[in-house]
Symmetry: D3
Amino acid sequence: MKNREDTMHIRLINPNTTASMTAKIGVAGARVAAAGTQVSATNPDAGPVSIESHFDEAVSALGVLDEIRRGEREGADGGERVDAYVIACFGDPGLLAARELTTAPVIGIAEAAFHLATLISTRFSVVTTLGRTCIIAEHLLQNYGFAHHCRKVRAAEIPVLDLEDDGACALGRIIDECRRAKTEDGIGAIVLGCGGMADLTDEIREAVGLPIVEGVTAAVKLAESLVSLRLGTSKHGDLAFPRAKTFTGRFDYLGS
Amino acid sequence: MKNREDTMHIRLINPNTTASMTAKIGVAGARVAAAGTQVSATNPDAGPVSIESHFDEAVSALGVLDEIRRGEREGADGGERVDAYVIACFGDPGLLAARELTTAPVIGIAEAAFHLATLISTRFSVVTTLGRTCIIAEHLLQNYGFAHHCRKVRAAEIPVLDLEDDGACALGRIIDECRRAKTEDGIGAIVLGCGGMADLTDEIREAVGLPIVEGVTAAVKLAESLVSLRLGTSKHGDLAFPRAKTFTGRFDYLGS
Amino acid sequence: MKNREDTMHIRLINPNTTASMTAKIGVAGARVAAAGTQVSATNPDAGPVSIESHFDEAVSALGVLDEIRRGEREGADGGERVDAYVIACFGDPGLLAARELTTAPVIGIAEAAFHLATLISTRFSVVTTLGRTCIIAEHLLQNYGFAHHCRKVRAAEIPVLDLEDDGACALGRIIDECRRAKTEDGIGAIVLGCGGMADLTDEIREAVGLPIVEGVTAAVKLAESLVSLRLGTSKHGDLAFPRAKTFTGRFDYLGS
Amino acid sequence: MKNREDTMHIRLINPNTTASMTAKIGVAGARVAAAGTQVSATNPDAGPVSIESHFDEAVSALGVLDEIRRGEREGADGGERVDAYVIACFGDPGLLAARELTTAPVIGIAEAAFHLATLISTRFSVVTTLGRTCIIAEHLLQNYGFAHHCRKVRAAEIPVLDLEDDGACALGRIIDECRRAKTEDGIGAIVLGCGGMADLTDEIREAVGLPIVEGVTAAVKLAESLVSLRLGTSKHGDLAFPRAKTFTGRFDYLGS
Amino acid sequence: MKNREDTMHIRLINPNTTASMTAKIGVAGARVAAAGTQVSATNPDAGPVSIESHFDEAVSALGVLDEIRRGEREGADGGERVDAYVIACFGDPGLLAARELTTAPVIGIAEAAFHLATLISTRFSVVTTLGRTCIIAEHLLQNYGFAHHCRKVRAAEIPVLDLEDDGACALGRIIDECRRAKTEDGIGAIVLGCGGMADLTDEIREAVGLPIVEGVTAAVKLAESLVSLRLGTSKHGDLAFPRAKTFTGRFDYLGS
Amino acid sequence: MKNREDTMHIRLINPNTTASMTAKIGVAGARVAAAGTQVSATNPDAGPVSIESHFDEAVSALGVLDEIRRGEREGADGGERVDAYVIACFGDPGLLAARELTTAPVIGIAEAAFHLATLISTRFSVVTTLGRTCIIAEHLLQNYGFAHHCRKVRAAEIPVLDLEDDGACALGRIIDECRRAKTEDGIGAIVLGCGGMADLTDEIREAVGLPIVEGVTAAVKLAESLVSLRLGTSKHGDLAFPRAKTFTGRFDYLGS
């Protein structure tokens, strides 16, 4: 069993390439981390600056996998071993693939938020950015088994990068949508549907008056939980390391 | 946001009245708790010495609720406030009722184990004590949304209190059943289906060679997670404090 | 096969301790009972005066179990054997535990109403008392398998004990909510979501113009049905009598 | 509310045209009927002599509808009014269509057996005739909402009309299959999957040692229940009488 | 593998007996058929002139089965073999029974439309004729597995035969309902819920500005697909030819 | 409506980079294509040589998207327009993302096979390559809505590239597993779970004696169907073209 004095290292991977969002996510994660937990935040060099579609998500998954591989290499090369990874985009891009690449736990922020929301309420709603991404949350809810715990997936109709602007406009729209959820949905909690909202949680909670579950912070705590329990991704069965094989072309670096 | 130096206090409630099991659960919980977390373990004065049926469970729920009320009173009376509660019986007896009584998080060990198991494997099986209690796990899996993540609920056919005996017989049967699950079920992890197995996790893991998710330890970490995130049981909606009312007879102490 | 001349005895257990409601339930049950059926109505000495939360429900389950045990004892002691039990609270508190205690059938009024509603309509809605109890009905619908037969669980926002007042206010609000259900939900029937509405069925039906399925009366007929068919609670498998064991403290009377 | 002295009349419709089976069904129904209940059993003039396929079922539905219409006419013509109908084939052929034709309740024997089985056990299995009809039971279980209550649909591989033969061969095979279900399925009750087994219930129960739920008898009691409660098929919404229209050709008698 | 030069023959069966609708369906089917596909459209001699209830549907199933048998006979008698059948009523009446009668594929227009709609959108709504038939579509969606792909089943409240009138009134109401679906339902496509709308698809699509999936045309293409792939109805298991048996009375022609 | 003389062009995208498999897939697709359909088969330059894990799948999705973009560009540049795309790997990698990039239909071979299998049987099983990929099929079955139509996902435990070897060993193992499915699963059809089996369909069908549904061929026909019906991917709602944005690093070519 892990010694309490041990430190652990959680790597937050922002799947998009907007450094300001990465920094924000890192700050949010670090704020809730335990004393012995080191939080580092990275993003891929290559990929979309925001993730607002299945397409953006599919491309960002590559970046996530590259970052997992980089994290694993760092540990293997005598650097700071990564004890757990967080995929900090609400679509959990590349989650199962990432799990195959490591014995460490890998947590998506959508799943993290859903899990914790069910522990403090019987029903919740999700408030996300653009309407077109609601389907992503709906699919995840169904895959993970939480569909009947969620009353409604709502969109504030804010492009993700508007969350990087200083103007309070995005915040206001999110609060408005959360209030509608509170009034209309018969819920006990709200899940914020974008990693870029990680710094807004407190303001939203105070304005709305409901527990607000935010995924980055939720995932950091779940990652810490698993590491403390020495529970890593199972290498028995379908999350085992991928079979060694050739990759061609620009992806040849992924092969063996 | 919670200051990292803050301590927190997690109360483990063993719903049965077997003190040796309470002690064992307390030790298991304390072993995995963070440095700043105080773990206390209690059990009700009154109730079944083990929980192996719906009937045992229904009676034990009263004990759980009494213990929650006691925990709340201690805090109110200037004692050590309880920051989170764990219900340490795999049927999660009284879970939703307990949540109504407090703003603190309340976590059941079955739900805790199910949640964490889905984070490290795509499919798991449950190994519990007596065959007659399998239905309890099946109902919980369905209610929580994890039915399709679980391949099979298996019983080692051990009465709960046999887990308190020193003879390794119970352990052997659990390991045998876990190995069958590993071989036959197409799974990546096993969930132990009884709080009384909390001290056996390491031995089982080594003997079986699969990640073993144990509920008491899982629940402690989830409780810590929620407290760190300042996420308590929602008091908006259906988990609000019960309406004040009269209780009659021996339950009059519950009334207002 | 049961001789038609035989009489049978159905015990209605009102899980709350409000005698006027018990009486009302007894009258409602007796009105629909067959000629040879004796209906007796009881309530526990101890427990909540009304059931409007998970907490109230958990406590009331103890009372239900005590009443089942009393019923069984009466028969064993040469008194009038109870042939079937009805749990007359819409949350069906203690249902599975109660079934473990007897070979007689035990029927909850929520399940009874749901079953019969599906036999006369393709879709129904539930109209219950307080909004906070809707979740209880939703959980039951899912557990029993009726979730997709029910369009909506609605609350008239009436505290249960208001149903004991003479003022027609409660009745009016229930009728209003039923009418909204009829207009908006695309349903063929309404299930009344509280045992305390058992005496209002006729008035509601006439005011609303839809079949109204009420649980107490439904459960009496299902109980008669099972007794006539000599179908009792299965003692093979997970509803067998609980294993004999010690109960401690004030619950020691439950032990063996 | 129905006066207890009132009699009621339940019409059992055997959807196949084998008179011996109709008689057997009538006897089984009459044995369990209440003192005031008159049971009549009929079968269509035209249709399959047994129902062992979707095709047989579709044709038999016409016969069922003709019998419902005949029942309604008899009442309208001053004959004995039919208070409830039972469709006595385990596929519940024509059930929703039949409900449209009458304000009386219409009960299928498969649904009846499923409903009652869930009241006395947490899990049951079905033992039916031919393997090819298992899919019919599986579809019904899913439509009615009972899929997760049923462990397995099993076939004894007996053609339906073998149940009309005196040789005990069919009975033996059914008992064998029921015993396998008892041993292997983790169940508390068995549902017999054919109206032609209505006379075998007692023998099977004694041989197998489990509660055996038989649909004809179950449906009679549910029909009595609904009539006593004055709950008829809802005429509000999608089970209202069909719109008047022309039928052509040999079906012109169905038109208006 | 089928030679491309081969022709194939698809028989569209309009389950109602309105010849003008049969003709319309035949035209719609022929318009989308491949060059080598011969489309013939028939309707039974006997049955309802429109299908707007479970009752109409049950009767029409007989006509469907007669038409399948006629189609099979024509091929056997040296006439033009039918390579695939389409059941051109949105309730897919008699579908599984029809499949038992032939090795050719049999496609219902509701299932066909649902299948194709899921290939071009993540969520769709259905717009059908009368509100009372919505339940038929809901049941099919659930049976086929598409319930969570469909946001809403809507009715334009048009009797089926109004679709045969020249007045544009029906079209206007359908377009209005489709526009409401587009605005309110969060969908990517609309499924038209009646074979009688087959000639309106283009107009509706242009007016609404969404992909409109129509069942007759969808089914013709799926039928062609299966024939090209030499995939016929499986005769292994529960869709095998019905067992030979006697049918009595006016249905004796169905027996062997 | 599409003129029958029109030709159409279907692009088969093999998501792995093994040219021999691409060729095989192209041949299989062309064999079943209609006379007017041109089939071209491509694979990405870069990516895994076979797809046997979530990781392989995530990487291959990029190749799929590149190929979709290339197909779109070819049409825009005056080359042969692509009328529909098929993603020829049984995990349907990148399916929803691909749909966002085009108005043409995009069909995955897993979904195609599932859809057609439900049209010719009530229950099917899947036989795929490696056990570790079974979970991929299970997830797709659930997402698409076909989970309850599939009895079992089975693996022949053959690495994908063994399908490229001449030795009949792979074929033998597949046939063995299919025969086990036929004997044990209660099914009417088998779905082949790998694009690399496209050339084995006839041999398997003859050896097994069941309808064998193969995805590449199924997808070609569904693609033809949608093109003939002028049904393209909906651009209303969540499959609309992705919002224009910057992509960084090696993915900058994807940005606007």
